[in-house]
């Protein structure tokens, strides 16, 4: 239903000729029957009439020439009329064309009235049609399958310069002739809406009758683009809103499909007002059936700056991994999401695994945390504790002792782990080499005291604490003694100068 500057009728004729091709079949049939009198073919006159009605003058004349009586005057006269009929073209203005056409039609009328075609009733009928006689055209209605076919035929011979805004009137007349509004099919309603330039009506009909929104959405999109190219912009008011509404609905329906959701994303990109919010909400609902798919969702979200979707997808994948007992993958997802709480939770899990089994399950993760070690304090502790563990294995006693002390004193370690750390400290306290300074030893003692006074630690830790307390105190005391002596020696060494 466009807005062009040219004539409306040629386009309508073209449309009709595309949909109602019976005349072509008829012509083929007539031509294929090679007989001396083709006009006796049952379809001859019908086909000829069809061509005339559709304004296909050349084909009509070709058929006419086949008639055995072609050489007679009346046939020649008809041929001339057909040949001379003016057809709208872009080079001629509407006014000029109308004058030519009216002249032509007057010629037709005069010839009819002179009785030139009286002998051949079929020919006379054609002439009447050319003359635009309402009676003749009305008679044609029975030949037409649909109201719009008839409407166009009528327009061709009564008002070839019809404008778009007048089309509605003719449509209405045609519908009345064909049984009124009650008999309209949904296609008819759509076409009626088009003739009346009632776009919301058209869209409403399309949405109601068609299965999906593919057609209305794309149609509106094309119209919108065409509209924006049009100099007088508000030919169709509020079209952008309507287009966006349809595209959003269509894209939403795509998102629920397990495979077409990716196409849905692209549609949302084309909706400037609400596309992004809707995409954000719906992207989270895409079923994350594998890492591969989750990565795709994350990439789509990242590209569009939907960081909350990135974070929540990573968390969902992390939880899934955890449900499958895959703490390593879960931690990687947690780090990717940057979520401190989840990371802390997983770090606690890994620490619990360690206390149970005495080994770390994901050493290659912990050894290579890199920058992500700071995501959560618990993770930092876990990384550092793993480092301590490695130092212990490698026999780096000084480094290990130092690290151990700082883990406790800096309060990086979670309370529930202090007892483990203190127990770890005992071999270093009781070693022959003095690994802790006296200050450090005092601090360790302080940590122990604090732990004992803390009433909130769980029962089983309390039991372990009670068992080990004496051993720890003994070790601390021993180390303190040795450390003080060693420091005294150092001080004493300098004192002896005096």
């Amino acid at each position: 239903d466009p807005k062009s500057e040219g004539y409306l009728l040629p386009q309508l004729l073209h449309w009709i000729s595309l949909h109602f091709k019976d005349c072509e079949d008829g012509a083929r049939s007539v031509l294929s029957q090679s007989s001396d009198s083709p006009e006796d073919h049952v379809l001859y006159w019908d086909t000829l009439l069809d061509f005339v009605l559709q304004g296909r003058m050349d084909q009509a004349r070709n058929l006419l020439k086949l008639h055995t009586d072609f050489n007679t005057d009346m046939f020649a006269s008809m041929d001339q009329l057909l040949r001379k009929m003016p057809l709208p073209s872009n080079t001629v203005s509407c006014g000029d064309f109308l004058i030519k056409w009216k002249n032509w039609q007057m010629e037709v009328v005069s010839r009819v009235q002179a009785g030139e075609f009286a002998v051949y009733p079929q020919l006379n009928n054609i002439a009447e049609i050319l003359a635009g006689s309402e009676e003749a055209l009305d008679g044609m209605a029975n030949k037409c399958k649909t109201w719009y076919q008839w409407m166009v035929y009528r327009l061709l011979y009564t008002n070839p310069c019809v404008a778009t805004y007048d089309l509605g009137v003719y449509a209405q007349q045609a519908i009345d002739r064909f049984g009124g509004l009650d008999t309209l099919t949904s296609l008819d309603s759509v076409l009626l809406g088009l003739t009346e330039l009632d776009l919301p009506q058209v869209v409403k009909e399309l949405c109601m009758t068609l299965d999906g929104l593919w057609f209305p959405a794309h149609l509106l999109d094309i119209l919108c683009h065409a509209n924006s190219l049009n100099p007088n912009k508000n030919v169709i008011p509020n079209i952008a809103g309507l287009r966006e509404y349809l595209l959003l609905e269509y894209a939403t329906s795509l998102m629920s499909h397990n495979s077409l959701w990716q196409a849905g994303v692209i549609y949302f990109d084309q909706c400037p007002v609400q596309g992004r919010q809707r995409l954000e909400a719906l992207l989270e609902r895409v079923a994350l059936t594998s890492n591969y798919k989750a990565n795709k969702v994350i990439h789509i979200a990242k590209e569009r700056g939907l960081h909350s979707v990135v974070a929540s997808t990573c968390k969902v994948m992390g939880m899934k991994a955890l449900a499958g007992n895959d703490t390593g993958s879960a931690m990687t997802w947690a780090l990717r999401s940057g979520d401190a709480k989840f990371t802390t939770f997983l770090a606690d899990r890994l620490l619990a695994e360690y206390t149970q089994s005495g080994r770390f399950s994901s050493t290659d993760l912990l050894d290579n945390l890199g920058a992500s070690i700071i995501v959560s304090e618990r993770l930092t502790f876990l990384g550092k504790y793993r480092e301590f563990s490695r130092m212990r294995e490698e026999g780096d006693n000084t480094g290990a002792a130092d690290l151990l002390h700082s883990l406790l004193w800096s309060r990086l370690a979670p309370k529930y782990f202090w007892i483990t750390l203190l127990i770890d400290a005992v071999p270093y306290l009781t070693s022959d080499e003095v690994l802790f300074t006296s200050d450090q030893t005092y601090q360790l003692l302080q940590c122990l005291e604090e732990l004992i006074k803390d009433t909130s630690i769980p029962e089983k830790h309390r039991i372990v604490l009670e068992e080990e307390e004496t051993a720890i105190r003994l070790a601390v005391a021993k180390n303190l003694a040795l450390a003080l002596i060693k420091e005294g020696d150092n001080n004493g060494g300098s004192n002896s100068v005096y």
Partner: protein
């Protein structure tokens, strides 16, 4: 670099892996066949296509596939192996224009929704790895796995390749590569390689066709890395390539100075390493002997690669990701989530 002529076809299934069928003899040039594995549909399938001389395509065979096709490779000219997101591996044989499944290894990878994520072949041996961090070694003649590495990795494995018949290389979602020696009985990797200290997944591996110690990887942040497996634990060179995750990297099988990459952002690039040689830059391999090894690949020379490699984009950027790419002779085959495959012919190398 000129590309002339490309053809495409809509297949109404999202393409996950596309692989040229190996030519059984050189007379077949001009009527190459290729297989496509689909994903993310209710019913996925493996289809075999043949390109006719007039640029049209013909569907030769198609067979249902349970789960997404996550990995695909031709074992021989008639045997096609796939790995599935349902956790199994399948072997199909092309017989009388039909694809029949002759072998299925089920439940190789259970845990994790993605099942098996990749498959690689060397001779009669197949290897699969999965989201559960397991690696299975299979033999085409046996219905049970020959060897299983239960905890090959502590997180999901993304890709796998055989650098040599006795070695297996995997890459994981954390940016680590692990090399396994198949002859030993150990369950752990013999070497571990790290991309960087950030947890960036390595999505794909490509092995140099003739020099098995050279590997190129594509990462989730769009970086390409060149590795020499004999030297050090870190990449020789890192190239910032695509802005989107790299989906696949491929060496040209006959001319390994050329590699091709595709990304989730819909890009397809051709990297011409031959210009490094012609630029007259010393291609020095970092071997301990100190002498110049002129047979070494130009990809190992890091400075040259950064400045001299010519990169061409073969297509305009697509709105949807390109998932897979394969190259044979002068033709590049690729496809992705827009449910179509494309072939670019006459790639100049």
């Amino acid at each position: 670099m000129r590309v002339s002529g490309g053809t495409s076809r809509f297949v109404s299934k999202k393409c996950r892996k596309l692989r040229w069928k190996p030519l059984s003899d050189s007379l077949q040039i001009g009527s190459e066949m290729f297989a496509i594995g689909s994903w993310d549909d209710e019913e996925n399938e493996v289809t075999l296509w043949k390109s006719a001389n007039n640029g049209d395509f013909q569907l030769v065979a198609s067979v249902e596939h349970k789960g997404d096709v996550t990995g695909m490779c031709w074992q021989t000219t008639d045997l096609l192996a796939t790995s599935s997101s349902a956790g199994q591996a399948n072997l199909y044989k092309l017989e009388h224009k039909k694809l029949c499944r002759i072998q299925e290894w089920g439940e190789l990878h259970g845990r994790g929704g993605g099942g098996a994520t990749c498959v690689a072949a060397y001779g009669e041996t197949l290897a699969t790895a999965g989201e559960d961090g397991k690696v299975n070694i299979l033999n085409v003649r046996q219905s049970n796995p020959v060897k299983v590495y239960d905890s090959a990795d502590s997180c999901s494995i993304n890709d796998i390749v055989f650098p040599r018949s006795s070695e297996l290389l995997t890459s994981n979602m954390r940016g680590q590569m692990k090399l396994f020696d198949l002859r030993s009985n150990k369950q752990e990797a013999s070497s571990v390689y790290m991309l960087s200290n950030d947890q960036v997944a390595i999505n794909c591996l490509a092995k140099h066709p003739s020099q098995g110690h050279i590997v190129i990887t594509g990462a989730e942040n769009g970086l390409l890395a060149v590795w020499d497996l004999r030297q050090g634990k870190h990449p020789t060179t890192i190239l910032s390539a695509h802005k989107a995750p790299v989906s696949e990297v491929k060496f040209h099988p006959d001319q390994p100075d050329h590699i091709f990459t595709c990304s989730q952002g819909g890009e397809l690039w051709h990297w011409n390493g031959a210009s490094i040689r012609t630029a007259g830059v010393h291609v020095s391999a970092m071997n301990g002997s100190g002498s110049l090894d002129t047979t070494s690949s130009p990809w190992l020379s890091s400075e040259a690669v950064k400045h001299k490699v010519e990169t061409t984009s073969l297509i305009s950027q697509q709105p949807l990701p390109i998932n897979s790419i394969d190259v044979l002779g002068h033709s590049v085959l690729f496809g992705g989530d827009n449910e179509a495959f494309y072939i670019l012919n006459n790639i100049l190398l």
